[in-house]
């Protein structure tokens, strides 16, 4: 996508700043973390120029600077103004339903004084050297980019002001930007952004240290929730283009059969009948990748046809013999028992605070419980798919990719091309949830196009393919033991986690790595003197990937259900007991917590985003207050509570359930309290947490992909069900803790999911006295006796 019709803005920054270091090719500015800090004045003193206005110096470091290709803070890369005043802003993160394609440009537009109705958004292709990191995952788009968006918007505003001042021959102090125009303060002259565009964009971009941000009181869009989704009209009229909607002249449609067992291979196949189906053009074997396959294709046999139906019919007629390989023994029932056995033994110690063994021995009472979660598949409404053209030594691909630059790199590697000869265009994503961070489907499309001599090919996974060959959410056993003293105080906490690791998708690995351990295991915030966390080894038998909120799901489920069990055993109110466990408001010190190795803090600096138990307590209080915690409930109804910090955001949910005679669980209401720092787009934040409640309810009652003989037993929505409108959380009330801009914004895409299942499970206990220790919940067990 080119900005052809716009004033060309692709020039390097004219001002040399100590803070910026040009890349080798000079086309982008990449700010290293150290120089960024210096530029922000954190390394020295600074003075505020305008009362109320923020110097860029009042910003803070984030993990954005240390991501691959870091942050690019160059308005000439992200903003273009055409002579008619249209402001074009590049969205470099992928839109999968969070609203980020609207929200980041909205921040920039507000800061530059643009009128939203005159803003046009274009989507960046996968090009991190130009745009900086594009991995749209980890709930980090806003927290990593809000500052760069503001800096770029402010820089453009200042350039427009300077252009106007120069045109009128007055000092810059005598002009100011209003909405989409610059005016002389005495009111004599005014000029629209379009008129000023050329002159403004020819000016040097101010150095970061000289950029003045708007005062918060002048925000028009930031923090307001008044900007609708940019793609709203396209979505509701059916014109929005997702990956599956790409249509190219002469394009062919492909589907494939992949090994039913991870690591399996095609032994032989017979394509005769498939080729006889009218419309089938070719049957092509896709080479597989030995385990661990990372994001490379699993291999299999593809049918390429003039339309999807013909391809599907051809696929039906394929006869394939497989060589399954060692994972053919994978059996979910057996595996669960194995995980349990391992969890009963000492594992690798990953956190050791105090002396748990001694404390457990001295305890008046020891309570233990084990929690289980099976694999899940993301089941994005839009199945994995991609379209590619590979010819004349070049590859162009269109994909619903969360990490388009990673896809581009993998395509280059697989095809043996120079990365400069590979283009990855990003469409809208019909859901991502982590599945579309992996580009295996794009490589399949490219391979087929290459074999077909450069014909455009769209590879579409069917829903069956999606469920049977996913990058599954891990399955886990979490075993927790607590020692209680004679005063009813918890003095010891031992948590053992056994789960195949995401690492195993990239290299042989049986232990979880820091990212997984940091998601609700070693970062446990409880004020208990003796805490030990252990991780037992287990080998994977499927591709393990990340699924919205990742290991936080089983961890929050186990820890938050166990706390409710303890409260009940001790005859305490759950909320009071939970607050006691969290302890007084304080910032935790990871060293004092006995965490072995470094705490994974979602890739962000701990000084900026510490674990703050005051904020954790506050969301518990807020959710309980809004839900009316403690109110009398009718028979077979109950309230359940859970709290969890993930992606640097604090979330508590109270679920209200009614358990019907036949065991059906209805959820009249969920109150979710969210502290995500400064809420940039509260309306979309609410949407994320409403959606998370539904996804949480789905995984609570429906989601299990189980394996027999290495093969997934589920395949489509008839046996891998979703929450539907016949039984959904009727009213999800999202209560957002207000903060000023200076409380750094944190994640919102994922952290709503983890507290939902334990809140529901705890509510079911309150309603029925039945303890839930396993997901998904078997509602047959909840039938009235």
């Amino acid at each position: 996508m080119q900005l052809q019709s716009f004033v060309s803005l692709r020039e390097p920054w004219a001002t040399a700043s100590a803070a910026v270091a040009s890349s080798a090719d000079g086309a982008f500015i990449n700010v290293s973390r150290r120089s960024f800090l210096e530029a922000l004045g954190l390394a020295g003193a600074f003075v505020l120029a305008t009362p109320g206005a923020l110097r860029a110096a009042e910003t803070w470091p984030t993990g954005g600077e240390t991501m691959p290709h870091g942050l690019v803070i160059d308005p000439k890369v992200f903003v273009a103004i055409s002579p008619d005043g249209t402001v074009t802003i590049t969205a470099h993160r992928s839109e999968m339903g969070t609203g980020v394609r609207t929200s980041l440009p909205m921040v920039l537009a507000d800061e530059m004084g643009a009128d939203w109705s005159r803003v046009k958004i274009i989507q960046a292709p996968g090009d991190e050297p130009t745009y900086g990191n594009q991995d749209t995952d980890g709930s980090r788009s806003m927290r990593h980019h809000i500052q760069s968006m503001r800096l770029m918007g402010a820089a453009v505003r200042m350039m427009l002001e300077r252009a106007a001042a120069e045109r009128w021959g007055v000092p810059v102090a005598q002009v100011e930007a209003r909405v989409h125009e610059v005016v002389e303060k005495d009111g004599t002259r005014r000029a629209g952004y379009g008129e000023l565009a050329k002159a403004a964009m020819d000016l040097p971009v101010p150095a970061i240290k000289d950029i003045l941000l708007k005062p918060e009181s002048a925000f028009r869009y930031i923090g307001k929730g008044n900007v609708p989704l940019y793609d709203m009209k396209a979505i509701i009229t059916g014109k929005a283009i997702y990956g599956t909607d790409v249509r190219l002249p002469g394009m062919l449609y492909a589907v494939a059969v992949r090994p039913p067992v991870y690591g399996g291979k095609v032994k032989s196949f017979d394509a005769r009948d498939a080729k006889a189906v009218p419309g089938v053009v070719a049957v092509i074997e896709i080479p597989g990748t030995p385990e661990p396959a990372a994001f490379m294709p699993m291999g299999g046999v593809a049918v390429v046809a003039t339309n999807t139906w013909a391809a599907l019919q051809g696929r039906e007629k394929l006869k394939i013999e497989w060589e399954d390989g060692p994972n053919a023994t994978y059996d979910s029932d057996v595996y669960r028992k194995t995980m349990s056995t391992i969890a009963a033994q000492e594992g690798k110690v990953v956190r050791n605070q105090g002396d748990v063994e001694k404390a457990l021995q001295s305890a008046a009472k020891v309570i233990a419980a084990e929690y289980y979660q099976p694999h899940m598949a993301h089941a994005t409404m839009e199945v994995p798919n991609a379209t590619a053209v590979v010819k004349d030594g070049r590859c162009e691909c269109w994909a619903p990719a969360q990490s388009p630059y990673a896809v581009r790199k993998d395509l280059a590697k697989f095809l043996g091309l120079d990365i400069r000869d590979v283009t990855v265009n990003v469409t809208l994503l019909g859901g991502g949830f982590g599945r579309k961070s992996k580009g295996d489907f794009a490589i399949e499309a490219a391979y087929l196009s290459k074999v077909m001599g450069g014909v455009p090919v769209q590879m579409m996974w069917t829903r069956e393919d999606d469920i049977r060959n996913s990058y599954y959410h891990t399955t886990s056993v979490e075993r927790i033991e607590a020692g209680i003293d004679t005063n009813g105080k918890v003095i010891a906490w031992r948590h053992r986690s056994v789960a195949p690791t995401i690492l195993s998708t990239f290299a042989p690995a049986e232990y979880q790595f820091a990212i997984e351990l940091g998601m609700g295991l070693v970062d446990n915030p409880f004020d208990i003197p003796n805490i030990r966390c252990e991780n037992g080894p287990i080998k994977n038998h499927v591709r393990i990937g990340w699924f919205r909120s990742v290991s936080n799901i089983p961890r929050a489920f186990a820890v938050q259900c166990f706390v409710a069990e303890l409260a009940h055993a001790l005859g305490r109110d759950h909320k009071e007991f939970l607050l006691e466990l969290i302890g007084p408001p304080r910032r935790l010190d990871p060293t004092a917590m006995g965490i072995i190795g470094e705490l994974w803090n979602y890739g962000d600096p701990y000084e900026v985003f510490p674990i703050d138990t005051g904020r954790l307590r506050a969301v518990v209080e807020l959710a309980c207050e809004k839900a009316g915690w403690g109110r009398a409930m009718p028979p077979r109804s109950g309230l359940g509570l859970a709290v969890h910090r993930s992606f640097l955001t604090y979330v508590a949910s109270v679920a209200e359930v009614v358990v019907e005679k036949d065991g059906t669980v209805r959820i009249p209401r969920i109150d979710t309290a969210v502290d995500c720092g400064f809420p940039v787009n509260p309306e979309r934040i609410a949407a994320q947490f409403e959606g998370a409640a539904v996804m949480g309810m789905t995984l609570c009652f429906h989601s299990a992909v189980t394996f027999k003989n290495g093969r997934a037993e589920q395949s489509n929505f008839h046996d891998y069900e979703m929450v539907r409108m016949t039984n959904f959380p009727r009213e999800v009330r999202v209560h957002i803790v207000p903060h000023r801009y200076t409380t750094p914004s944190a994640g919102v895409g994922e952290p709503g999911v983890p507290p939902i299942a334990p809140a529901i499970a705890n509510a079911i206990f309150a309603a029925t006295g039945k303890r839930i220790r396993e997901l998904p919940i078997d509602t047959q067990l909840l039938r009235e006796a």
């Binding site: 839109e95 999968m96 339903g97 609203g99 609708p228 989704l229 793609d231 709203m232 009209k233 979505i235 509701i236 009229t237 059916g238 014109k239 929005a240 283009i241 997702y242 599956t244 249509r247 449609y253 009218p278 003039t306 339309n307 999807t308 139906w309 599907l312 089941a379 994005t380 409404m381 839009e382 199945v383 809208l428 994503l429 019909g430 859901g431 991502g432 949830f433 579409m460 069917t462 829903r463 994320q688 409403e690 959606g691 998370a692 409640a693 539904v694 996804m695 489509n716 929505f717 008839h718 979703m722 929450v723 539907r724 409108m725 016949t726 959904f728 959380p729 009727r730 009213e731 999800v732």
Partner: protein, 151 residues
């Protein structure tokens, strides 16, 4: 033999196998990609269209079944997005990723065409076949109510 029918007010004639689901005919042969694939087995509603004004699932309706009849897709509901259901969707900010929404909107529009002011239970029942993985049900429900009653 060509199969003739009407799509969004225009006559079309397709040389295609009579058993081809209408979904693929619309998407691959007519370039009407607003109708989505989600499951192919009638279990998700992403492919909902109107056949002679009634909501049907395009992935399980065969081309021969629509011969001589009128099909409306999301592209034909109101291209400017001014159908009351579309307006309610925009007003309440229903979509997240948006992928399921053409199907949801077509289903809701068919419901309201049949029943001016459905009860909550009738809305639930009518929408039960439409999955939204992003979990927009609360707003979908509210938007149908808004489209029906203006509040």
């Amino acid at each position: 033999m060509a199969i003739s029918f009407n799509v969004n007010g225009r006559p079309v004639s397709l040389e295609a196998p009579p058993e081809m689901p209408v979904l693929w005919a619309l998407r691959d042969l007519l370039n009407l990609t607003g109708t989505k694939y989600g499951c192919g087995i009638g279990a998700c509603g992403a492919c909902t269209i109107h056949l002679d004004g009634k909501a049907v699932l395009a992935c399980v309706v065969r081309l021969e079944e629509v011969a001589g009849r009128a099909v409306t897709t999301i592209e034909g509901l109101d291209p400017d997005g001014n159908h009351p259901v579309q307006r309610a969707w925009a007003q309440l900010g229903v979509p997240q990723c948006g992928y399921c929404q053409p199907g949801q909107i077509m289903r809701a529009a068919a419901l309201l065409a049949e029943k001016k002011n459905p009860t909550d239970a009738e809305i639930d029942q009518a929408m039960a076949g439409n999955i939204c993985r992003c979990g927009c049900y609360q707003r979908i429900h509210a938007a149908i109510r808004l489209a029906a009653t203006g509040v």
